[in-house]
């Protein structure tokens, strides 16, 4: 195939995959149930190679699907028919560490956790900590605006990835957002809109991240409750009192059972729910915040409140929480992760609705989620060997999303819309809202070559909007000429 040899000419034979089991890896991402074979996979090693691949794909009329580690849960890196997958996993160099300015420049394939590991000895770290942080890439995090447990206090990827080098649909190399030391750059906030754009606006080939000093003190609090009602009420009361722990994670009884089975952490199995919280900062602040949080937990009806005995136990507790999805294997053959957001005052009501939806469908649902942000992760447990159960689980998942929308929430808090949820965008947004987002896409990629069938419910082309005047080239030139 002519195309393949042209790609080989850019990235070399060892970085081009066209067949075999290696290609199979790239047929799917973390979204179960879908596989599409790409025409070719390339693994460029430099920004220039990425740009050359984009130009080639464009010339050949091939759609492009960017891919980091492939851990995305919404099918963002799922190939489309006849596409080239541009994988960034070979670009994993740490380019620059600038401690005085608290910045670090990295290639997109760098694994999230490796940033903090690289900085640990110097007393710094990178705050966003998705549960998948030991495997997901920073480029993927930027594309998804990934969150994590500690984003409650510290903010999401958008608050920490401050600049990037991107390869555009034309194959140009452009810098957006901050570069060098400049924290806030002039002009439209392209970085702000690029973060979370799910690989539709360009390929990130370098990321400039903020790094933080490791907190002076951290206190971990584990509290159990009779049911999710009391636990949910505790979360709402902490938030409404303006207390800001670094993290508030909630687990229901099924989730606790799975985590205990997987990690042997000594959590009680006879409780309805538990909260795992971190409070961090300078020592004086930690004491104050922890006392206020503990008082709120008590008032909400906590059965037991305890802190880990040592760093080892603390690490185990967090490992349990972060490994919760994988732990579901202990209690169910299969599971389907949902990701929705609700106002934090509605946690109790929505968890009840989810329990009702599950029992009506005859399925079990485990909940383990970022409670402080109102970001639910119901895990719908099913047995794929039983005909119809997978479809049923998906249907329950869809009902849960509609419940989130009904309570004034959103269809995704961190896993993205991707391929999986494009159909729900119309439930959340009007036609006008979606058309406005499309303006952004068209300004970046007018031929829709990046991730063509993702995020938006119906395929759209970037024609000029009907009834709208076209700018004269002369007018644009005049505009450009002004200082």
């Amino acid at each position: 195939m002519a195309a393949v040899s042209d790609f080989i000419a850019i990235v070399g034979e060892r970085n081009t995959i066209t067949e075999g089991s290696e290609l199979r890896t790239y047929e799917a991402d973390g979204l179960p149930g879908f596989r599409v074979r790409p025409a070719v996979v390339v693994l460029p090693e430099t920004t220039e190679q990425v740009a050359a691949c984009v130009r080639l794909a464009r010339a050949l009329g091939m759609p492009i699907v960017p891919r980091g580690s492939g851990t995305g849960l919404s099918g963002g890196a799922l190939p489309v028919e006849g596409c080239v997958v541009i994988g960034l996993s070979r670009m994993k160099a740490i380019l620059e560490v600038d401690l005085p300015n608290r910045r670090m420049r990295v290639q997109p394939g760098v694994i999230n956790l490796n940033i903090s590991r690289h900085l640990a000895a110097a007393g710094y770290y990178y705050a966003p900590d998705p549960s998948s942080q030991s495997v997901c890439s920073i480029g993927g995090n930027v594309a998804e605006n990934s969150g994590g447990a500690h984003c409650l206090k510290y903010g999401f990827t958008v608050n920490h990835a401050v600049g990037a080098t991107i390869v555009t649909a034309e194959g140009d190399i452009v810098s957006v957002g901050a570069h060098g030391g400049e924290p806030d750059t002039l002009g439209y906030d392209l970085m702000g809109v690029f973060v979370g754009s799910e690989g539709l606006l360009g390929i990130v080939t370098e990321v400039l991240v903020r790094i933080l000093r490791t907190p002076q003190a951290t206190r971990t609090i584990f509290a159990t409750f009779p049911t999710t009602d009391e636990a949910g009420a505790a979360v709402s009361s902490i938030i409404s009192a303006g207390i800001v722990p670094a993290a508030i994670e909630m687990m229901d009884q099924l989730a606790i059972e799975a985590i205990v089975a997987a990690t042997r952490v000594d959590w009680p199995l006879d409780v309805g729910a538990a909260l795992l919280m971190d409070v961090d900062g300078v020592a004086a602040e930690v004491e104050h915040t922890a006392d206020a949080a503990i008082a709120a937990l008590r008032a909400a009806g906590a059965i037991e409140i305890r802190s880990p005995r040592d760093d080892g136990e603390r690490a185990l507790m967090w490992k349990g929480r972060k490994g919760a999805f994988a732990a579901m294997g202990r209690i169910s053959p299969n599971y389907y992760v949902q990701d929705g957001v609700i106002p934090r005052k509605e946690i109790v009501a929505v968890l009840r609705d989810i329990a009702r939806l599950a029992s009506e469908a005859g399925l079990r649902v485990a909940n383990v989620f970022h409670a402080g942000d109102g970001n639910l992760h119901p895990l719908i447990l099913y047995d794929g060997r039983i005909p119809g159960q997978e479809a049923l689980a998906e249907r329950v998942g869809g009902e849960i999303l509609k419940t989130c929308i009904r309570y004034g929430g959103s269809i995704t808090g961190e896993h993205g819309v991707g391929f999986d949820k494009a159909a729900y965008m119309g439930d959340l947004f009007t036609e006008d809202d979606l058309a406005t987002m499309q303006l952004v896409r068209c300004a970046f990629d007018r031929d829709v070559i990046f991730n063509p069938n993702k995020v938006f419910p119906t395929p759209r082309l970037c024609g000029d909007r009907p009834g709208i005047y076209h700018p004269h080239a002369a007018e644009l030139a005049e505009v450009a000429g002004r200082g």
């Binding site: 005085p100 984003c151 555009t168 452009v174 957006v176 570069h179 030391g181 924290p183 806030d184 002039l186 002009g187 439209y188 906030d189 392209l190 702000g192 809109v193 754009s197 002076q216 409404s240 303006g242 800001v244 300078v282 004086a284 602040e285 004491e287 104050h288 957001v341 609700i342 106002p343 934090r344 005052k345 942000d373 004034g408 959103s410 995704t412 808090g413 961190e414 896993h415 993205g416 819309v417 965008m425 959340l428 947004f429 009007t430 006008d432 406005t436 987002m437 303006l439 068209c442 300004a443 000029d464 009834g467 709208i468 005047y469 700018p471 005049e478 505009v479 000429g481 002004r482 200082g483």
Partner: protein, 400 residues
């Protein structure tokens, strides 16, 4: 034109867009000194009647309000349940929510609490063709579709009018305390370095020279240091001790402490960012990130001196921002020099932007500094959102 509902706003804008009439969008006009004046002729569109608080959910720490509400009115409502949004924008009684966001205002406490844009969780924008576009929502975490609200923030109205903004709020710090100390030349570098590296970061820290009528404290022939501490009583006690001993080690003489009136004193500093001396001043902002703040302030003052301009400077040590106000005896005297000063200043500081000045020549200065690398993309966005150039034409960078 002063529409009083989002629908009316949409109708007005759509009809201007159809008839080819350009629109200058006006909030409280407090930041009118930023950017180039809109290319005339144009119709005035005022957001002054869009002042509703659309949804107030204090227990969820979120609020939604229309773009024309003043920051003071919004703050009063939030303070009633102990919350706030740290905008730190000048003239809060006049500045509007929409205008402050559209101007991408960056205040002195952002190193600690984040920028106004970090509090935006959703928006309703009216585009040039009248489209009412919603984005985000009332939840604090959300990745459904592009984060459109980010585009309207800092766009000076050139992509769409912020008719409503949905914001996170945060607990109002219970206590505030201000320190004012003279900053003799020999102590400056050590004092500033020790303040920025305090383990409990101050909410704000400035080295001020001049601004006598507007900012508290006297500096005589020296500048002055002003530090704002915020937090719980315990935290404040601790950070007061740390600050005192750090300043003592740096050789800073006696400090004055303000507890009552600390917030008002801080407000006066923020107001000074855009304060004008009639038509005889122009104010610049530069970011000294990554380079010595002290050296750059001194270089700027020296340059002003060479042009025989008076310089008032306000250096925000926590964010490395520098505000430089140059002035002369009268508008004529300033007019004779300002263009040449502007050129010379931009040779040293290519990123310097003009943030205030009522002098007629302000508009012909290099108010935006150098264009960003991705300017072509920005122009492409403008062409998609506002192909006729209806909204604030010419106000933004590169004539957008």
């Amino acid at each position: 034109m002063t529409p009083s509902s989002v629908e009316e706003l949409s109708d007005v804008v759509a009809s201007c867009n159809r008839s080819g009439e350009r629109i200058a969008i006006e909030g409280g006009n407090t930041l009118a000194g930023m950017g180039v004046p809109v290319r005339a002729p144009y119709a005035h569109l005022r957001t002054a009647s869009l002042t509703a608080v659309v949804e107030d959910a204090p227990t969820d720490l979120v609020v939604a309000a229309q773009g024309g509400i003043t920051l003071r009115n919004l703050a009063t409502q939030l303070a009633a349940h102990g919350t706030h949004i740290p905008f730190d924008a000048p003239l809060a009684h006049q500045a509007t929510l929409g205008g402050t966001l559209a101007a991408g205002w960056l205040g002195p406490r952002r190193h600690l609490y984040g920028r106004p844009r970090d509090y935006v969780i959703g928006s309703v924008a009216v585009l040039a063709d009248g489209t009412i576009a919603r984005a985000g929502g009332m939840v604090v975490k959300n990745v459904s579709g592009y984060d459109m609200s980010r585009l309207y923030v800092g766009a000076f109205g050139t992509l769409g009018i912020i008719a409503q903004a949905n914001m996170k709020t945060t607990a109002l710090p219970p206590h505030a305390r201000i320190f004012i100390a003279p900053l003799p030349e020999g102590t400056r570098r050590r004092a500033l370095a020790s303040v920025v590296s305090l383990r409990i970061a101050p909410a704000a820290a400035f080295w001020v020279e001049g601004f006598h009528q507007s900012i508290d404290g006297e500096d005589g022939h020296e500048g002055r240091l002003i530090v704002l501490l915020e937090g719980s009583a315990a935290l404040l006690e601790r950070s007061t001790r740390d600050l005192r001993s750090a300043l003592g080690r740096a050789g800073v003489p006696e400090t004055q402490i303000l507890d009552t009136g600390a917030r008002e004193a801080f407000g006066r500093i923020v107001d000074a960012y855009v304060s004008c001396l009639g038509e005889r001043s122009v104010t610049y902002r530069i970011s000294a990130h990554g380079q010595s703040l002290v050296d750059r302030v001194l270089a700027a003052r020296l340059l002003a001196d060479r042009f025989e301009l008076r310089a008032d400077t306000l250096a925000d040590a926590m964010n490395d921002d520098i505000i430089l106000r140059v002035s002369d005896l009268d508008s004529h005297a300033l007019g004779a020099k300002i263009a040449m000063f502007d050129d010379a200043f931009h040779d040293d500081e290519p990123g310097a932007t003009v943030v205030a000045g009522a002098h007629p020549q302000r508009a012909s200065l290099n108010v935006w500094g150098e264009l960003p690398d991705a300017f072509d993309r920005m122009r492409a966005l403008k062409a998609r959102f506002d192909p006729n150039g209806t909204l604030n034409p010419g106000r933004f960078i590169g004539g957008i």
